[in-house]
């Protein structure tokens, strides 16, 4: 995972609430088997249908911080939504409320999702219209969003922050506790279902 410490960039104001992950990346773009190349699918329907869509406006080209209305990332669990935002160039998304699964995915993949008050979103939307070149700093070390002398504190638990600051992989952290997992497994009731698998094919080359 890419580390996140502090990022300064311009804002893309997405004046919508309830942006579901089907809008972030439609299902037709989910067929790739790699983790890359999803940027083309980002907001594909809105980008193609609406010349005035925020990502089609020249003054917001190169923006790296997406500021959206409440309930951003609801719906499908597709992590492709996070990959599409990252692939397109976004480093952080600000919204008053996120879909749970999307939020979890983003914080695993190194896209910082920041919960800010609705008033901050409104303020940043207005500012992006007024001054599209104006920059915003998202500081994970201090847990602050800063712009124009305004400082908005945000919450993120210490563990997730530590993981993002260091770019740590969750799996590596968990596998240090393999003994605890094995102990739990040994105590599981015998009636729980098990699925006989096919014989594994030979590994390696």
């Amino acid at each position: 995972m890419e580390k996140f410490t502090e990022h300064t960039g311009r804002v893309a104001p997405l004046r919508r609430s309830d942006v579901d992950t089907d809008q972030i990346i439609p299902a037709e773009y989910l067929k790739r088997v790699s983790r890359t190349g999803f940027g083309d699918g980002l907001f594909a329907a809105w980008r193609s249908a609406d010349p005035d869509f925020v990502l089609n406006r020249a003054q917001h080209a190169g923006a790296t911080i997406l500021v959206a209305g409440p309930d951003f990332g609801t719906g499908s669990s597709r992590e492709h939504a996070v990959w599409a935002l990252q692939d397109y160039g976004f480093r952080a998304v600000l919204s008053p409320r996120f879909g749970d699964i999307f939020r979890g995915n983003s914080l695993k993949a190194g896209l910082l999702t920041v919960i800010v008050p609705a008033a901050t979103v409104e303020d940043l939307w207005a500012r992006a219209d007024r001054d599209p070149a104006g920059e915003v700093t998202v500081d994970l070390v201090a847990r602050e969003v800063r712009y124009d002398g305004v400082t908005v504190a945000f919450e993120l638990d210490d563990h997730t922050r530590w993981r993002l600051l260091n770019g740590f992989d969750d799996i590596g952290l968990t596998l240090r506790h393999s003994d605890a997992i094995a102990r739990y497994e040994a105590a599981r009731p015998g009636w729980l279902p098990r699925i006989p698998g096919p014989a594994p094919a030979a590994r390696g080359a």
Partner: protein, 465 residues
């Protein structure tokens, strides 16, 4: 200390708890499909890791698979590669797979309960948000992203922060013609798409207790549409009766042992939920959506609302955008909305009872001229049983198309899609813009309403016919 069912399941799956860190929870069953798993298996390969518990992992092909001509290779080359990738990954890592054409293949959330793999008290995850379906049997079940899929494959655990708890009590009795789908659509309309955010919902009360297992699955399935990660119903005699004799359910002495445990799985009488919502079943009528998120719905007897009637500016703007996308004018009677396609299927309403309910309405009638109706069983077993009961003949005699199992037009990853501007009545779970095909317009409905709509050619309930 008293606790809720969700809290009990959480505590009983705790592998490790340390202050300042997320809890590490054990996963009893991991369901896998072709769309959200390829990058996870790649991750394992890159790190030289294996699947820790292939015996707790089951894969199926559902999202991409065609529902017609399944004896032929998949025509879309990109879909074919994704399905082929799953087959290779399952073979390499020793995971059991039910491929297209297999008797056990079907939508992942239909086959889990059907096989008896979904049992009370279990933790179940899948790279799919509708994993909440399995909570109907009293499991803690929720959708995860691909990074988490890789984590579960590698460790059979997930690091998680506890979820808040919500009780949704449905009092009274559902009137005739009102289904589980109407209950959940009414709930989402009431609390909004973010109303359950951060929560596990426990559905309870007389109307829920009276529901069949399959109806409970419909309710739990759409918990995510209210923002809740998981939905559940405490197991009872209905649950045990459903499970008994299923292929993976315990038998003999193991059944008795399991049953004794399952009977303990209830929220304590004095357990405190973070939020409580009460719905009166007696006041509900068939519900349909008019907008582009599942909370934008209302009783079929109503009209398309005027965006100006929403006090909240965000909701007002969302309603304006929704009506523009849906091509609807405020004040239009919902019963006057004509549709071109009816989709009966999905993990929400693709089970046997759903097909029976729709068939009962459509029996002896005809799908209206100019309307196509797709009937897509949730699994090949559902298809098989429906055919034994002659339901396929009821549908085809009425002019509907009888298909094979898959996610199909719920999300249009296979060839079953709406054309731009085409309008559907759909028993699926999401009316998002473009969900059923770019430019497509979706009205979410129950199976009886879907069938009546197919006959009438416009949104209708069976009573209208």
């Amino acid at each position: 200390m008293s606790s809720t069912l969700a809290e009990k399941l959480w505590e009983s799956h705790l592998v490790r708890r340390e202050p300042g860190e997320p809890d590490l929870l054990y996963v009893d069953l991991h369901l896998v499909h072709e769309v959200t798993s390829p990058q996870a298996f790649d991750g394992l390969r890159l790190a030289g890791r294996r699947v820790r518990r292939p015996d707790l992992t089951l894969a199926t092909e559902d999202h991409n698979v065609p529902t017609a001509g399944i004896d032929q290779p998949i025509a879309d080359p990109v879909s074919a590669i994704q399905v082929e990738t799953l087959r290779r990954n399952c073979a390499e890592f020793g995971v059991r797979l039910y491929p297209m054409g297999d008797r056990e293949q079907g939508i992942v959330h239909v086959i889990g309960p059907q096989l008896g793999l979904t049992q009370p008290g279990m933790t179940i995850v899948c790279g799919d948000s509708h994993t909440s379906t399995h909570g109907a049997l009293g499991a803690l079940a929720f959708g995860i992203g691909t990074s988490e899929v890789e984590h579960v494959l590698a460790s059979q655990t997930l690091p998680l922060r506890p979820l808040k708890t919500m009780a949704v009590t449905v009092t009274g009795q559902l009137p005739a013609g009102v289904t589980a789908k109407d209950v959940i659509l009414a709930l989402i309309s009431r609390i909004g798409t973010g109303g359950g955010q951060g929560h596990t919902v426990e559905y309870r009360g007389p109307a829920v207790e009276a529901m069949s297992m399959e109806a409970r699955m419909t309710v739990c399935n759409m918990s995510i549409e209210a923002g809740a990660r998981a939905g559940m119903v405490a197991p009872d005699e209905t649950t045990f009766g459903y499970l008994k004799g299923r292929p993976h359910a315990p038998s003999g002495a193991a059944w008795d042992e399991a049953l004794a445990h399952w009977r303990t799985l209830r929220s304590d009488p004095d357990a405190v939920f973070d939020r409580e919502v009460v719905l009166d079943a007696a006041t509900l009528t068939p519900y349909v959506t008019w907008g582009t998120n599942p909370s934008q719905g209302g009783p079929l007897g109503g009209v398309v609302p005027d965006p100006a009637s929403f006090a909240d500016p965000g909701q007002r703007a969302a309603a304006e955008k929704a009506l523009a996308y849906m091509g609807l004018a405020a004040g239009t009677r919902l019963r006057d909305i004509r549709v071109e396609t009816v989709f009966l299927g999905s993990c929400t309403n693709g089970r046997l009872e759903d097909l029976r309910a729709a068939a009962a309405v459509i029996q002896g009638r005809r799908v209206a001229d100019g309307v196509r109706m797709l009937v897509v069983p949730g699994s090949m077993r559902v298809k098989e049983q429906a055919e034994l009961e002659g339901l396929h003949e009821v549908f085809t005699a009425a002019g509907a198309q009888w298909r094979s199992a898959g996610c199909s037009m719920c999300l249009g990853m296979n060839p079953d899609q709406l054309r731009p501007g085409e309008r559907s009545a759909s028993t699926s779970n999401r009316n998002f813009e473009g969900r059923q095909g770019r430019g497509g317009r979706t009205h979410l409905v129950s199976p009886p309403v879907a069938a009546a709509t197919a006959v009438a050619g416009r949104l209708a309930s069976p009573d209208d016919l």
